[in-house]
């Protein structure tokens, strides 16, 4: 079966990775549904539990955004959408980031008010199968049980996000990976209530809300940067994407090319490339340009939409690569 991202036909390896990523996200959604229900059942009056619950609810957004985005991105480009539908990934990324930032900020304010006004959280008992136990123990048990699996799933997703070059999947994996801190934070808050330190609950809630805002802001920055057509970077935004250099290297290695430099934007999964080349002579054969284009496309599955433009001199927004020049 052929799986596409727009015009791009995915290599077998990426098809398999995509299949696993989709399956993992469904697993994540099922797990989240169980977690959110469990946490809701023992919510009580703890502000930290409330923050953890809100985080669980927010965690639904990235997997859903991913599942919708990979579906949308498969559509082929049309006359109305000549660049395809790859940007659906960036849109999903932005939506998730805004939700995270907004809810995190709300929780910080909400918990801060509780802390300043000295709201003492009241946590009583529950009657479980005829035995009366303190609800706090149940909260701790739920957080301990639900804290570990997301970390494992998150680590698995991280590798897949690299292979697929999917930033929504990366954002999701990153959040899952840090989930255990929410659990430990909540447990500390509830134990704090238990030993009579009422303020630890609100403090733990602020800590959790802080990590939500942190996730939100870093994702917001990444999503906006992508939508602003910044230079293509690796899936974790750590450095410029190596493919950019490889394209320039390849083009400048052609016998008829004196200098090459390309403008690459990340459409989400795939790159759209405008490659500028300065020919050695005043005339360029059409066949040479087409060969150069096909050469670029064959470099990597992420490269599909390539335009090779002969220019008298390179625009100043690209890094120029000359044949015997840099080895970057």
């Amino acid at each position: 079966m052929t799986v596409r991202f727009g015009r791009t036909e995915l290599p077998e390896r990426q098809v398999e990775v995509l299949r696993r990523a989709v399956r993992l996200e469904w697993v994540t959604l099922a797990f989240l549904a169980v977690t959110a229900t469990l946490v809701f059942l023992v919510l009580g009056n703890s502000q930290a539990m409330k923050a953890a619950w809100v985080e669980d609810l927010l965690s639904f957004i990235p997997p859903i955004a991913f599942l919708i985005a990979v579906r949308m991105a498969r559509r082929r480009p049309t006359v109305r959408h000549p660049y395809g539908f790859h940007r659906s990934v960036a849109v999903g990324h932005l939506v998730a980031a805004v939700a995270l930032t907004g809810m995190g900020a709300f929780l910080i304010i909400d918990s801060g008010i509780g802390l300043v006004t000295g709201e003492h959280p009241t946590i009583g008992t529950v009657n479980l199968f005829g035995a009366t136990i303190w609800l706090g123990w149940l909260m701790i048990a739920v957080m301990a049980v639900t804290g570990i699996p997301p970390v494992i799933v998150g680590r698995m997703k991280l590798g897949l996000a690299r292979e697929l070059h999917d930033k929504v999947l990366y954002a999701d994996a990153d959040m899952n990976k840090a989930d255990w801190m929410t659990s430990v934070g909540t447990i500390v808050g509830v134990l704090g209530i238990g030993v009579g330190l009422w303020w630890m609950d609100a403090a733990a809630a602020i800590f959790i809300a802080g990590s939500i805002v942190h996730d939100g802001v870093s994702n917001l920055r990444a999503a906006v940067v992508d939508l602003m057509d910044a230079r293509a970077t690796t899936f974790d935004d750590a450095r410029p994407h190596p493919l950019v250099g490889r394209v320039d290297q390849y083009l400048s290695g052609l016998p008829w090319v004196r200098e090459a430099g390309s403008r690459v934007r990340d459409e989400g999964h795939v790159f759209h490339i405008e490659a500028f080349v300065v020919p050695r002579r005043g005339k360029v054969a059409l066949a040479d340009i087409e060969t150069a284009r096909e050469g670029c496309v064959s470099l990597d599955w992420k490269i599909q939409d390539v335009v090779v433009v002969p220019v008298p001199e390179l625009p100043d927004v690209v890094d120029a690569i000359t044949p015997r020049g840099s080895t970057a």
């Binding site: 709201e119 959280p121 009241t122 946590i123 009583g124 706090g136 840090a178 500390v188 630890m200």
Partner: protein
């Protein structure tokens, strides 16, 4: 994410666990309500309501009065009754002048941001035929006290049918 954060979280968790291990009772009262009532005085605020709290005799009577006296007995405590409107009594809880408020209150009570609520321990049939769950109000966050009261009320309600 800075590397020091997980370390700080774990350190906090461990120190709380150590504290908990040093004979501190969980849950505990920030204001020490249970310790004060134990062998002392239970300051109960009551407001008349049906069979729960009646004020027609020399001393208050009713199912919740019986329950509170029995609860105080279980702690070797005397009961000091304060009669007032719900609002006045809730203010008493907030200012620390009262330990518990009873008067056929239900879990639909609007006072929940000013007072803690016990787990429902009985049911009451309202005028319109619907049923509501009966609770008592306690000071916010006095979790040892509320846990003790809830445990007592649950056991009592099961054996004596306190809530009507």
């Amino acid at each position: 994410m800075p590397r020091s954060r997980p370390v700080a979280v774990v350190a906090a968790a461990v120190s709380v666990l150590l504290l908990a291990g040093c004979g501190i009772r969980i849950p505990a009262d920030p204001q020490g309500t249970l310790d004060r009532v134990d062998g002392g005085v239970l300051r109960a605020g009551i407001t008349p309501n049906g069979d729960f709290v009646r004020l027609d005799g020399d001393s208050p009577s009713g199912s919740e009065i019986d329950a509170l006296i029995a609860f105080a007995d279980s702690l070797d405590a005397e009961v000091d009754w304060t009669v007032g409107s719900e609002e006045a009594l809730v203010r008493g809880l907030e200012s620390g002048d009262l330990d518990v408020v009873a008067g056929g209150l239900t879990d639909e009570t609007p006072w929940t941001d000013k007072a803690g609520m016990t787990r429902p321990y009985g049911e009451v049939t309202l005028a319109d035929g619907s049923t509501a769950k009966v609770v008592m109000l306690v000071p916010l966050g006095e979790n040892a006290f509320v846990s003790r009261l809830e445990t007592f009320l649950t056991d009592e309600a099961a054996t004596e049918g306190v809530g009507r």
